[in-house]
């Protein structure tokens, strides 16, 4: 193995792998990606897999829309032989309060200004879209057919294999244990499999990003919050779209394989807890069976837990360390990293390859928490 690279990426989730791919596409192929476990073993592989464009801020709606366009052709885009499992059955966002319903109308205006094909639906139509939906207590819903879900494992593999073909090297089961900093500039990464030099290092370690950043003298205002999910046995197609509520904090979708994936998001104290709990199992089933009573008949086969890397305004932080130039953190995705990774990877790769981008990367700097130019988002779990 080589001892030095142009770029080292820490973290083999979708953000790290997509960034590796986009860098390689721009001719930066002397790249090493290191991953503590296997690819997608962290947040990516544990996520709800949803892809939605129905956001409330122009920025998020735009990032999600442009990411969706890539997901739509990800196999061709990356040269992946397997299907990435994209299913655009739509997202039905349901409103349980008047205030939420009013906010949804505002969100639609933002989405329409970008050409996103979303619309308000009354309860009758909501029931036509999801025949088993219990609309009691609902004010209305919004629907976008082009939203949906994809397979996080295969999407990550698609990016990784595409990157590998262009020359990117991958070291899995390898942990970053230290950073080498010389004269205010990053110089390399110490790992459990030796030390590697690089003048650019990208920290895509999700909830572990703050401890890496700390080694570079940066404090990242990110806290980790456990979120849990479960999956049922596969059954014949019952619902085609993702159903989601912010107010009751639930989401549910039926995968192309037939199983239902769902989760609820109770507020928890920050932790690195990756264990699932029976309390979640019971509460989730109570919440979900009320929204979709037909679920009562289904068997739960597996549950798991993952972590959200929450930033103060629930939007990503992309920043270069002041005391270790060349060390970038790309983190704080706050639970929606999977669906925006394709576009964020392009933004990051354009920046490093000194290519123009229609988006200004500086707005993602954590300076915004000092200046008050927050990236506020009304439509987030």
């Amino acid at each position: 193995m080589k001892k030095g690279y142009d770029v080292i990426i820490i973290g083999g989730g979708i953000v790290g792998c997509a960034t590796a791919f986009e860098l390689a596409k721009r001719g930066i192929t002397d790249v090493l990606l290191i991953e503590k476990g296997y690819l997608s073993s962290g947040a990516t592989g544990r996520c709800g897999a949803g892809i939605r464009q129905q956001w409330g801020s122009e920025l998020n709606a735009r990032i999600a829309m442009e990411s969706t366009h890539i997901f739509e052709n990800l196999e061709e885009y990356t040269g992946y032989k397997h299907s990435c499992g994209l299913h655009q059955g739509g997202y039905l966002l349901v409103a349980y309060t008047e205030k939420e319903w009013a906010q949804f109308q505002e969100n639609l205006k933002v989405q329409h200004s970008l050409g996103i094909d979303s619309r308000a639906v009354d309860l009758k139509e909501a029931k036509e879209i999801v025949p088993y939906l219990n609309t009691e207590g609902m004010f209305g819903a919004t629907f976008c057919q082009k939203d949906g879900h994809a397979d996080p494992f295969h999407c990550t593999q698609a990016y990784a294999q595409g990157a590998r073909r262009m020359g990117v090297e991958f070291l899995t089961y390898t942990e970053a244990t230290g950073l080498i900093i010389r004269g205010g500039h990053i110089a390399g990464v110490e790992t459990t499999k030796g030390t590697f030099e690089a003048s650019t290092v990208i920290n895509c370690a999700n909830v572990r990003a703050p401890e890496l950043a700390k080694m570079a003298g940066e404090e990242l205002p990110i806290v980790s919050e456990r979120h849990q999910a479960l999956v049922t046995e596969p059954v014949a197609p019952l619902i085609d779209c993702m159903v989601m509520s912010f107010h009751r904090s639930y989401y549910v979708q039926q995968t192309p394989h037939g199983s239902f994936v769902m989760g609820i998001g109770p507020k928890e104290e920050p932790s690195f807890n990756f264990k699932s709990s029976w309390q979640f199992l019971e509460k989730n089933c109570a919440v979900m069976c009320e929204a979709l009573p037909i679920l009562r008949k289904l068997n739960v086969v597996r549950q798991w837990a993952g972590q959200y890397d929450l930033s103060p305004d629930r939007n990503p932080i992309i920043d270069e360390a002041k005391e270790a130039r060349g060390f970038y953190s790309v983190c704080g995705f706050s639970g929606h990293g999977f669906m925006v990774a394709p576009r964020i990877a392009i933004l990051m790769a354009n920046h490093l390859a000194r290519q123009e981008d229609t988006m200004d990367i500086r707005m993602f700097s954590q300076e915004r928490y000092k200046t008050g130019k927050l990236l506020l988002e009304p439509a987030v779990v």
Binding site: F153, L281, E282, C285, N299, V300
Partner: protein, 96 residues
């Protein structure tokens, strides 16, 4: 052994050949094989195939079985109906 007709994962209908192809493609742990093929994601949650895949990895890499990285054993132990769990919550399930 007849690779084409020997089923390693009964729930997801995966042959030994499919698993060996996956190992040859570079997926080197049960966890990775599970995620790309669905082996072990069915109703039995890997009770049948987990150790069989471990054996294949052990012989392919020439390492003892105990060195093959195990997957996380996730609850519930056996499938439970959502309705049963929902009712249990209503009868006084605990909040965390």
């Amino acid at each position: 052994m007849d690779d084409k007709n020997t089923i390693l994962c009964r729930c997801e209908d995966l042959t030994r050949e499919a698993i060996l192809d996956c190992i040859k493609a570079g997926y080197c742990t049960i966890d990775e094989i599970k995620r790309v093929t669905r082996a072990g994601m069915g109703p039995c949650q890997g009770r049948t195939c987990r150790m069989l895949i471990a054996q294949e990895l052990s012989s392919y890499y020439g390492i003892p079985m105990e060195e093959v990285l195990m997957t996380t054993f996730r609850p519930p132990t056996k499938p439970i109906r959502m309705g049963v769990l929902a009712d249990a919550y209503k009868e006084g399930g605990a909040e965390e």
